[in-house]
Amino acid sequence: MNNNKTDGGTDSGALLDVKDLRIEFPTRRGILTAIDGVSLRLNSGEILGVVGESGAGKSLTGTAITGLLERPGRIAGGEIHFNGQRIDNLPAEAMRKLRGKQIGSIFQDPLTSLNPLYSVGRQLIETIRTHTDLTPRQARARAIEMLTQVGIPAPEQRIDQYPHQFSGGMRQRVVIALALCVNPKLVIADEPTTALDVSVQAQIIELLKQLCREHGSAVMLVTHDMGVIAETCDRVAVMYAGRLVEVGPVQEVVKQARHPYTRGLMGSIPKLGDEVEHLVQIDGAMPRLSHIPKGCAFNPRCPYATARCREEKPEFAQAGQGEVACWLWDGVNPATDPDTLFAEVSQAQRAKKQMNAVRPAPKTSVQNCGQEV
């Protein structure tokens, strides 16, 4: 695992560099901002996990990178650089040539990702021939080789079968073969196992990881499974309400999250001394796009929210080896241990609460996150 890569700094060498991306949907009742200032970097061969609740904007970010955003959605700001080239404003035809060849995609549902009327081989061969000069015969050989690589038994026979003749797990293997058949530098895998049977999920992730390593492809892996993140990814990006809230090496983000939302996502706040503090669940739901709160989008659900959080949007700040957008980390030494910081904040809050016990708490804050056991 690559824990020594740091974020920020220059953009030299990054395979994918998304800068301040903003995606809008114009609607009758005004413009909805679905992605608001997301910046991401991905190095060659690296696996970046993207997590966040449903509707956080994970898929939309991936869609924007592949240039497949559908109307009326549009990229309203920011830039996307790939392999040193700006791609968010490429002409459609140039972008098409990049898709599949340089940037492969894997979708969530293998049952619906394949055209039911064409054999698996035909779909592989047409993809290979679109991006290479191989003859039909060579392309077929390559297709069979890909099917072998993704672990489909008897590929010479199965290549002429139709998608409905494959099981869900096998179809996702075919989808992976399709995504990797011309060695893309980047693969965007949007919840590649969510639709699959639990028993095959691990195999598919393992296969994806292994093949991408062999092909030297970087992966942007969208998933809800923290176990997969912990085992597979080099770095993790956490999204909330269309914004990036934290990004950093997997160890730090999973074990020592710095953003209150990430801590909630990871399920628990680790022990501190004798006290174990639990954030059993994050109360409330993610806001709708039309009702994203002012300031920090997370503030109505955040146990640590202050007046400032309700007014000002937090900036990204270096923290540990990652970055975090939270006012708690404003002006704090980046090397501070997050557990220590959260313990201090909780203690201060409790002290304040006791002092103000007579006064009713303000309505907007959501409390009861830190319960003493």
């Binding site: 592949t66 497949l68 109307r71 098409r96 040539k97 990049l98 898709r99 599949g100 060849k101 492969g104 995609s105 979708f107 549902d109 619906t112 990702s113 394949l114 055209n115 039911p116 009327l117 064409y118 054999s119 047409e126 993809t127 679109t130 991006h131 026979q157 002429d160 079968q161 139709y162 409905h164 003749q165 989808v175 399709l178 995504a179």
Partner: protein
Amino acid sequence: MLSFLIRRLGQSMLVMLAVALLAFSMFRFVGDPVTNMLSQDASVEEREQLRDSLGLSEPLYVQFSTFVVQAAQGDFGISYRNQRPVSELIAERMPATLELVAVAFIISLLVGVPMGVYSALKSHSWLSHVFQTLSLVGISLPTFVTGILLILTFSVTLNWLPSFGRGEVVNIGWWSTGLLTASGLKSLILPGIMLGLFQVTLIMRLVRAEMMEVLRTDYIRFARARGLSNRAVNFGHALKNTLMPVITIIGLQLGAMIAFAIITETVFQWPGMGFLFIQAVSFVDIPVMSAYLLLVSLIFVVINIIVDMLYFLLDPRLCADRGTANSH
């Protein structure tokens, strides 16, 4: 596939038997054929004689089975009005109707499918909006009105095209065709448009709706994500999936067109089966009416079977063992 085919054939036989029963009962309930065939002052003996010679004194089920057996051999009896075998009359008129329907069908496909595909792919362009509006007009205008408007414009006012009849026809065996002469072709244009117009709008709307649905599917998005050209995605992947469900409707519409041809043939005095049927109705010429009913039903049933078989050819999901074949 074979068992499916046999089952479908069996069902079709049942349908045809039911229709035959209907056609047969027309003889019973719409007046007495003997009265219809003989003059008012025929004697009782003459009546009985005719009754016997027509087999009308036999029990009903015997009559029905005779009717079915004869109909299956193409014998529908003698027309009351023309005093000629009905099968002869129909054989004379069938080419006119089939050519008209074929022309209208081809027009509706050649115009309707591309219009539907275009308005699905470019759903926001102004031309698509024009198509949508036109199709609304086409669907809501009664066909005889469009027919009359066509005649008014192109025959009466501009005097470009004939307003009735088939023009000159050439006989090839028993088949008389209007496709080989200039006047025959010219005569086909207006009725062909009239009969096809409704189908054009229907097919266009159907293809558009179906294709827009298909374009939203994951496998189309995935095909784009694989970097396939627009052409390959739209015409290779999307169109084929679009046409699958459309084929059924188009097939059924072909049957409907043969039935609807009655109106067009009446407006253009087209010497086809529909015109024959209308004339038969006004003379209560039951043998002709029942033969027409049976024939149109048979055509429907046959088209249905063909459509089902097309599905087998086009959709690999219906043919489980097909994928194991080495190539295709």
